[in-house]
């Protein structure tokens, strides 16, 4: 009888202990909320994360700014944000989404493989935060309402939606003389489709859900030259997670690269009036973006270390590139 009582007490204590263990709140930005593909994918991730010792409660956020603020305030233990928004928590990794730094998906894949390696783990940590996953959102392309704007020179004076929390976009609009119109992820498409702005930069995955084809119409164009590689990044409050969780998580995210890229490429396949720059212009624009990137790195907007890593990746895949013989990045 006595033994039975002891067992019951032990079981009760164990059960009590289990129920008292707090689930980590995982705030997921998905513009489509609970119906969105990211929210759905992160529910699957949460199941996997149990094996690494975390009990994630996934919460959808349709407003990225709110998700970021709640993460900062400690109301979210983990958060999934776009790389541009995530830059404030880890300047190095948040600089992946810099202008023109990754010209294609092979370069991005090699970069993410490099960053998922355990030796790169120290780059993932910044103060109390840790980047626990990076996933491609697709290249950002320029969408224009009027295809007569067929050169950077003709963009001068036109209105362009810019994310007001991204210093880099503001600097770029200054450089090319475009009039910036402050926007966020939730309203840039409406401004473009209604003619409030002439130009937006967006990934292909926004094309159908946000109906960007309405803004492009039959007189616009989408320039098939990546101006940046956008990513989603998972950030943690490190102390809320077991040791080693971040590395497990980064490797899991690397495994999502190909399925995510497939979705991106399917979205790109749907874009109408999707043309490369006129012959001979692409090299000129690449150089223009490179100069902008170097200048913004000097200003501290982008991280010098990440710029150097990305240059190494570019030169690994294209050793003949002119930039590979200098050390400006």
């Amino acid at each position: 009888m006595g033994r039975l009582l002891v067992r019951l007490v032990v079981i009760a204590l164990l059960l009590g202990g289990t129920s008292a263990a707090r689930a980590q709140v995982f705030c997921v930005f998905d513009i489509l909320g609970t119906q969105g593909p990211l929210y759905s994918a992160m529910k699957g991730y949460a199941l996997q994360a149990r094996a690494w010792g975390a009990n994630l409660e996934v919460r959808p956020y349709v407003d990225e700014g709110v998700a970021a603020e709640e993460f900062k305030a400690g109301q979210c233990d983990a958060v999934l944000l776009t790389g541009v928004r995530a830059r404030q928590f880890n300047h190095t990794v948040g600089s992946i989404d810099s202008i023109g730094a990754m010209p294609g998906y092979p370069q991005l894949k090699l970069l993410l493989q490099t960053l998922a390696h355990p030796e790169a783990a120290k780059l993932m940590v910044s103060g109390p935060y840790e980047v626990a996953g990076i996933m491609p959102l697709g290249a950002a392309y320029l969408f224009l309402r009027d295809r007569h704007i067929d050169s950077v020179a003709k963009m001068a004076g036109k209105k362009m939606a810019v994310l007001d929390y991204d210093q880099a976009q503001l600097r770029m609009t200054e450089r090319i003389g475009v009039q910036p119109v402050s926007s966020d992820v939730s309203n840039f498409a409406g401004k473009f489709n209604n003619g409030v702005v002439d130009i937006v930069a967006a990934p292909a995955v926004a094309y159908m859900p946000l109906e960007l084809y309405k803004g492009v119409g039959t007189h616009g164009v989408v320039v098939k030259m990546p101006v940046a590689q956008l990513t989603f990044q998972l950030l943690l409050h490190r102390q809320q997670f077991p040791e080693g969780f971040g590395q497990h998580s980064r490797e899991y995210f690397l495994g999502m690269f190909e399925p995510a890229l497939k979705a991106v490429q399917e979205a790109e396949d749907q874009i109408m009036f999707f043309y490369p720059p006129p012959d001979g212009d692409a090299e000129k624009y690449q150089e223009m973006m490179r100069e902008a990137r170097i200048s913004m790195t000097a200003e501290g907007i982008y991280d010098r270390r990440m710029m150097s890593i990305m240059k190494k990746v570019r030169c690994r895949l294209d050793p003949g590139n002119v930039e590979c013989s200098d050390n400006r990045e």
């Binding site: 790109e268 009036f273 043309y275 490369p276 720059p277 006129p278």
Partner: protein, 174 residues
């Protein structure tokens, strides 16, 4: 003496081996050439091919269309927007992507081809060229739209199969 004979014999053997190698190499090259490049298609074959090409366009048959264009074929678009001209070079994949995207958004499509002209290959190994004017109209996002393409389609044949090896088009879109 024996040394001299041996030397001559070795030299003769070397000459014979070189000659044999040269003949074999020539034979291999000639064989290779005949397997790769057929004469450019004649007028009848070229026009029949063109009919098939437009049938695939009208039927939205991406697979058939893809099979008619060589993997390395450049599609050079001289785009005339009424405000100047610009040239874009699309890969086969980019050209087909645009065709499929337009199919997705368009309704009430029509294609009209006129002024077809066949130009035989200028030299052995060169493609035949068919020039034409292609007028397309469609409704996109409830708006009437269309384009007029003055095209030069280069055709070559490989192992009896005709393929587009280049497209040049002067295009006006409205």
């Amino acid at each position: 003496m024996w040394n001299a004979v041996t030397t001559v014999s070795k030299a003769m053997t070397a000459i014979n081996m070189t000659a044999i190698k040269s003949v074999l190499l020539l034979a291999a090259l000639c064989g290779g050439m005949s397997a790769q490049a057929d004469p450019a298609p004649d007028q009848s074959a070229a026009l029949h091919f063109l009919d098939d090409f437009y049938a695939a366009l009208k039927q939205h048959d991406a697979s058939a269309l893809s099979g008619m264009i060589a993997g390395t074929a450049p599609v050079v678009v001289l785009f005339d927007d009424g405000d100047g001209e610009q040239t874009f070079t699309l890969s086969k994949a980019e050209y087909l992507q645009q065709v499929r995207a337009v199919w997705h958004f368009a309704s009430d499509e029509s294609y009209s081809v006129k002024d077809i002209s066949y130009h035989a290959a200028a030299s052995a190994g060169a493609p035949a060229v068919v020039s034409l004017v292609d007028s397309e109209s469609r409704t996109i996002l409830d708006n009437p739209s269309g384009q007029r393409n003055r095209m030069e389609i280069s055709l070559a044949a490989t192992q009896g199969r005709i393929m587009i090896v280049a497209i040049k088009t002067h295009t006006v879109i409205w």
